[in-house]
Symmetry: C2
Subunit: 629 residues, 2 copies
Amino acid sequence: MPLITFLPSEKTVDVKAGTEISDAARYAGVDIAAPCGGEGTCGKCIIEIKSGNADFSSITIDKKYNLACKTKVLDEPLTIFVPEPIESKNGKFSDSLSDIDLIDPALLPDENNRKPVISFYEVNVPLPQNEDGLSDLDRLFRSLKDTGITETIQMPLSLLRSLTNIIREKEGHINLTLSLKRNENIQKIITIEPGKKTSSKYGLAIDIGTTTIAVQLVLLPAGKIISTKTEYNKQVKCGLDIISRINYALKPERLEELHRLVLETINTLISDICSTHKINKQNIIDNVISGNTTMIHLLLGLIPEYIRLEPYTPTLLHASHYCAGDLKLNINPEGLTWLSPAVGSYVGGDITSGILCTKLATDTDQLNLFIDIGTNGEIVLGNHDFIMTCACSAGPAFEGGGIKFGMRAASGAIENVNIDPETGKPDCLVIGNTSPAGICGTGMISLLANLLKTDWIDPNGKFNREKHSDHIKTEGKQAFFILANDDDPDKIICISEQEIDNIIRAKAAIYSACSLMLKQVELTFNDLESIYIAGGFGRFLNIENAKTIGLIPDLPKEKFKYIGNSSLMGSYMLLVSQSFRERQSQLANKMTYIDLGLDPDYMNQYSAALFLPHTDSGLFPNVMSNINK
Amino acid sequence: MPLITFLPSEKTVDVKAGTEISDAARYAGVDIAAPCGGEGTCGKCIIEIKSGNADFSSITIDKKYNLACKTKVLDEPLTIFVPEPIESKNGKFSDSLSDIDLIDPALLPDENNRKPVISFYEVNVPLPQNEDGLSDLDRLFRSLKDTGITETIQMPLSLLRSLTNIIREKEGHINLTLSLKRNENIQKIITIEPGKKTSSKYGLAIDIGTTTIAVQLVLLPAGKIISTKTEYNKQVKCGLDIISRINYALKPERLEELHRLVLETINTLISDICSTHKINKQNIIDNVISGNTTMIHLLLGLIPEYIRLEPYTPTLLHASHYCAGDLKLNINPEGLTWLSPAVGSYVGGDITSGILCTKLATDTDQLNLFIDIGTNGEIVLGNHDFIMTCACSAGPAFEGGGIKFGMRAASGAIENVNIDPETGKPDCLVIGNTSPAGICGTGMISLLANLLKTDWIDPNGKFNREKHSDHIKTEGKQAFFILANDDDPDKIICISEQEIDNIIRAKAAIYSACSLMLKQVELTFNDLESIYIAGGFGRFLNIENAKTIGLIPDLPKEKFKYIGNSSLMGSYMLLVSQSFRERQSQLANKMTYIDLGLDPDYMNQYSAALFLPHTDSGLFPNVMSNINK
């Protein structure tokens, strides 16, 4: 078998002729980004052949540079250089306590319902007596029943093994934690320790996003947030969006890889938090996980294939109580996992968790709209009478995908661009005040808004070819806008008309989905009390710029509420309140999923939104008056 | 560290000076019998020092021969010869279909209650539809609910992972097995397969005895017994009786060893049965385990220490539904295990299972007695109004323990001995018609009965020193009866007065326990409808001989019913009938445990029974008339 050598790591592997280079890299333990899931469409897995020949028959860019996912090994040795992907150079996440300050305090669990499923007990188990005929376990159960527990008590085998000694260590004085499985009417013992309670117990709120994963450590039962940590989902290298991941998972060993990678990401975050705060993982005894339907399938190791095939059917929407140990989460293995229920293949537990941070979860008759802007956009509209929801594919443009110099909102990303009306010269604000490495989603919105306001692009997103600017270059029919480093061809950062079009398509998908849902209930944007914007992308979003390009409706600024990572904050609420878990289940049942593709008006709405800000400029009166100033 | 070499295996190990030789042997993987559990009292772990010196300071028999459990390694190399224990030379168990023919057919589950907890379903899950908003799991649950299931359905994660493909393989046509957890009101899915049911499904009935373990394969739901296999419990080398095992388990690594050994024994039996009958272990989906309280503790890995310490409190008496996988039984890991409930530390699940084979489990007002004669004797007395139970330590004498030439009822064992009244010459019947290797329990009862009837021993079990026999040898105060091979000092088989005394103590323990229980309810043996005798030992028991020595009461022969391994047959009934599980739970709750040690009359009763047949010969009128003939 030919020997394949990967540079710069110098890792090697022997593989059969015919193996795809992306698979060879995986066997060698070399990461090659595959944002499109190995479909050969994103061009991010380009590798350079340093020596030897490969089978380029599938797609050829060049004899030297080619796509790892579409190039196969021949029966000869090969040396390959793998460029470092732009994403991994940047974007360490800063620790922050949480987004809890972004949430209306009236929406958080109050004293009445701030009761976790975990409860704490301290009991004196009577010492064994002659002829009472009771085992250690019998006496323990009696003592617990005496405290008023009415449910069946469940004792895991692992704890039973230490019961004999623990119950005798302090003459029957013990402390325990129990976790309620409400739908099974069972209280499961999670920890049992001799004497008084001496160690604090914790829970985890976890948000599994397609791009990032956040883990929050919470003291129980108090609900105090101890730490929040976020990292890129290690699955990112296997595909940037959900569809790419599902395609990647078609081979069983790749499904196993995705399953392993999401667990690795979560468990690394848990280990980091535990070592920072010197916490024994055994003391983490409860957890809530919210994520989109595909992410939850990959977490559980379920085949996600049918999520992307009509009629888009997931294996499961809501799960029973799985043990942390069975899920291989590195916490107390007896702890139970609450998985936020999904509504459909494209409206997942991240949304049923997220709307807990909005008035959609309350008894109001006012109409509210929730928009989670990520690679997929999910939208929820409703009040106490009805809740409807839909999803639209915004694509990864707002998160830096599908844009050559796109990157996430991390150090080195251009996040704001002002344009000189006369010369078209850009004035870039860069995160971390470093030299620019790329442009993030908010940067692109700012760029488009300001190019439009200064008339350097038209409502179609095409450059104004009637004016001259040093910053606009034309190559054949294509034109580029140079954002930075125009003096160095190796470092130049630019954006093409084609890429601007990608952003327009993304914003059109979201706007038209919102307007179509309103139209279905014969209401308009003006009927909305609030518009909640969730998702990491929204954090630095400039509302005026977003309105200018028509991503969001032209409403007064105060109607927009940015609620951050609402999936994580909803998970926090579910962790500290069992009644919120009931509320979430009820909301999930109440939500009607709207398949936009089935609405004959969808293409009209979408096409009309493919303008800046919109074909019907009357919908954006304030924006238009600004542009025309 | 000194190197220790064990012969004849030539296995070696380096250990620290001060290590006990029995531990060194364990590290080296050499089996040394420790019937007393390493207490230095049984003398069965004798080893021979071939070269080098050892630390004999604890107990010394000889500089050359010593007890492995009481001899320590010095800081020098040592070569040790380990004699092969007598038990391992003999006693392969023959396969037999089962003891089911020994049970009164009226006591077996009839058509009305022959319904296992396992149920079989074949359903057509509708294919996914646009906008029905149902996951694969939702549609599966609906289809199952449509068949009339009212309990909560539980889907294990391992099966969920294959659901997506299985449900599509035959367009929604699938077959499943579910197992009922009655007290939790849950139906757990155990298997799910595409299309019609094509493979048979099985359950296991398992009896874990201190000495032997039996596994029976049963076709479900039909209840047909496919195979029964019995083997020695691999724990035997760590102690012959329960107390020895508990002592052995005092060190955590030895508890772990006992836990491993019982699982090894069971899993080897399962593998044997599966390979004989070409059965996939995944198709074994249910199991019932009955065993004494200590055995169940060791199976679960629970500390058994407090079972032997006043007030004799086990960790648990009855268990919830543990998964076969969690218990590490090598069958379908999702299968649930029913552990027969125990009544106390010395009346275990083998007894609550065993009495299902008797009228004690029926609604009769007739009084019945159940005696399980093993290392421990367990006795149950009652009718539909009350059930009382007690345990007595018979010691291992009936099973060949504590007797130099004692062995189990296996090939080479003397099972019957006639005595020539004139010369005292024994006429031995040997199992398997081979040359004799030792004497089993029934052989010893036969020997004592015939020595008594021929006046070679007196009612105290002492040899008649007034008559001369070539077969009785006296050494100081001790006398021996030579059974076989008197011409070869290396092969001679004899029994001492001291050993006869051990047997008398064993029979006295059982008889006095029975009579004391009857006395407590102011009844006598004559009030009994039947006396059920259970246990492997009873299989070859001659009722007349047993009456002659006063092991059992002097009642008409037809009142005695031998029911074989009733623990196993009860387990079989529990496997095929969920209503028998309820009945067993009710019986276990109804049973009153009598601690004989707390009855002031017990020592009187016991002492009175230390004669052959009894101090009060009026209790044995028929026996006495025979002896005096």
